[in-house]
């Protein structure tokens, strides 16, 4: 399984970013390889409109099985993510990446 997180940093101890479209990083955990990788999304700050479809496009290209985020994507991103075969879990906005992963594994996160 490949699991994507919206994050404010690049480590397991980093805080999650509750925003989807304007998340600072997308952190990807590949369970098979036990490998944590990142996409720097900070250039999105300067984008006035259409941040979330753009972030959703990046996520689409990563092709994860699961997305864990905070508030959940809005309508535009939702249209993109509907094209990706992806389960979305929300409510992890105040956790670290590690905590979010554990909460997901324990079935404590809400499906979107």
């Amino acid at each position: 399984m490949k699991i994507a997180f919206t994050t404010k940093g690049t480590e397991w101890d980093s805080i999650m970013d509750p925003r989807f479209g304007r998340t600072e990083f997308i952190t990807l955990y590949d369970e098979e390889k036990d490998e944590l990788t990142n996409i720097d999304n900070r250039s999105i700050e300067s984008v006035a409109h259409g941040a979330s479809p753009q972030t959703a496009q990046k996520l689409f290209d990563l092709n994860p099985d699961v997305l864990i985020t905070g508030n959940g994507p809005g309508g535009n991103a939702g249209r993109v993510l509907a094209q990706a075969n992806l389960k979305i879990f929300v409510g992890a906005g105040n956790m670290t990446v590690k905590e979010a992963y554990n909460a997901y594994k324990n079935g404590e996160l809400k499906g979107f």
């Binding site: 409109h49 259409g50 941040a51 479809p53 496009q57 249209r79 094209q83």
Partner: protein
């Protein structure tokens, strides 16, 4: 002469001033009032005229033709607004993000993104005695006010010649819709209230008008409440204070019933006379 009534802060009296000033001026001159606050037009609540024209307004949005598309990805590269994106073997268009610039459509090598009209709102024109009144209203669910404001201004230019005094009731704030509503005005009235909120948003509106290199002046509404900081600010920044409209419970009562105010409150009418004189003098001095 085109005069836009804008504010920065909402609820400071744009519509109150616009409908009363337009009706007053129309007693002796050719006047058209245009409500450009298309997300929430409310001048019409006070101008109960006869409907003489109605039309739907459209904006152009690209529509993907899958059979023609070669998935070259050019469209998403040229879109400045990220309204067109390529996902695997399909192209998605986000109408709410599209600014109708035609770049994707024109630059598509195989014409796979033709522009299709999409209804965004409607324009109505009314007549009440000597006053013409135009309002545009954005459809529910539409997110962009700018294209409808632009089309409404174009309509006004086409249908009313330069003999008319054109008054624009602008949206609040300082973002794109306000800029679109004020950009071809010869003069902008910024109406504010003498409170810290009023002053804060006035300074933003002043900065915006300075950036647009507009001629503008300030009208203080509900004069008597709050403090003197707005007047001190205007003095310091060399901004003309055209008028101070009194704070009066009777004005609020008339407003809440959808009535015009100057016909009932002489102090208010006196201020309108001053404002009209100020504007007509500007016109004589060469601001068209």
């Amino acid at each position: 002469m085109k005069i836009a009534i804008a504010s920065g802060k909402g609820g400071t009296g744009k519509t109150t001033l616009a409908v009363n000033l337009a009706s007053f001026l129309a007693e002796s001159r050719k006047v058209v009032l245009c409500d450009l606050d298309v997300e929430e037009p409310n001048s019409g609540l006070f101008i109960k005229g006869k409907l003489i024209h109605r039309e739907d307004k459209f904006k152009m949005i690209p529509e993907w033709e899958k059979d023609k598309c070669t998935l070259c990805g050019h469209c998403q590269k040229v879109c400045n607004f990220h309204a067109v994106i390529q996902l695997g073997d399909q192209i998605m268009v986000f109408p709410e993000l599209c600014h109708s610039c035609y770049a994707c459509s024109e630059l598509c090598p195989v014409d796979a993104l033709p522009m299709i009209p999409q209804k965004m709102g409607e324009l109505k024109q009314f007549k009440k005695e000597g006053l013409s009144f135009v309002e545009s209203r954005l459809d529910i669910g539409q997110e962009q006010a700018v294209p409808l404001i632009a089309q409404t201004r174009e309509d006004l230019d086409k249908n009313f010649d330069d003999d008319f005094i054109k008054l624009f009731d602008a949206p609040p704030g300082t973002s794109c819709p306000v800029i679109e509503a004020t950009k071809d005005a010869d003069f902008v009235i910024l109406i504010t209230e003498p409170t810290p909120f009023g002053l804060h948003d006035l300074t933003l509106a002043v900065d915006t008008m300075r950036e647009l290199e507009k001629n503008f002046g300030v009208i203080v509404n509900r004069h008597g409440i709050g403090n003197n900081d707005v007047l001190t600010y205007c003095q310091k920044k060399n901004i003309p204070v055209i008028s101070k409209l009194p704070n009066d419970r009777r004005i609020a009562e008339l407003y809440s019933r959808g009535s015009l105010i100057y016909q009932k409150i002489p102090e208010f009418k006196k201020q309108l006379v001053n404002i009209a004189d100020y504007l007509l003098k500007l016109q004589e001095e060469g601001i068209r």
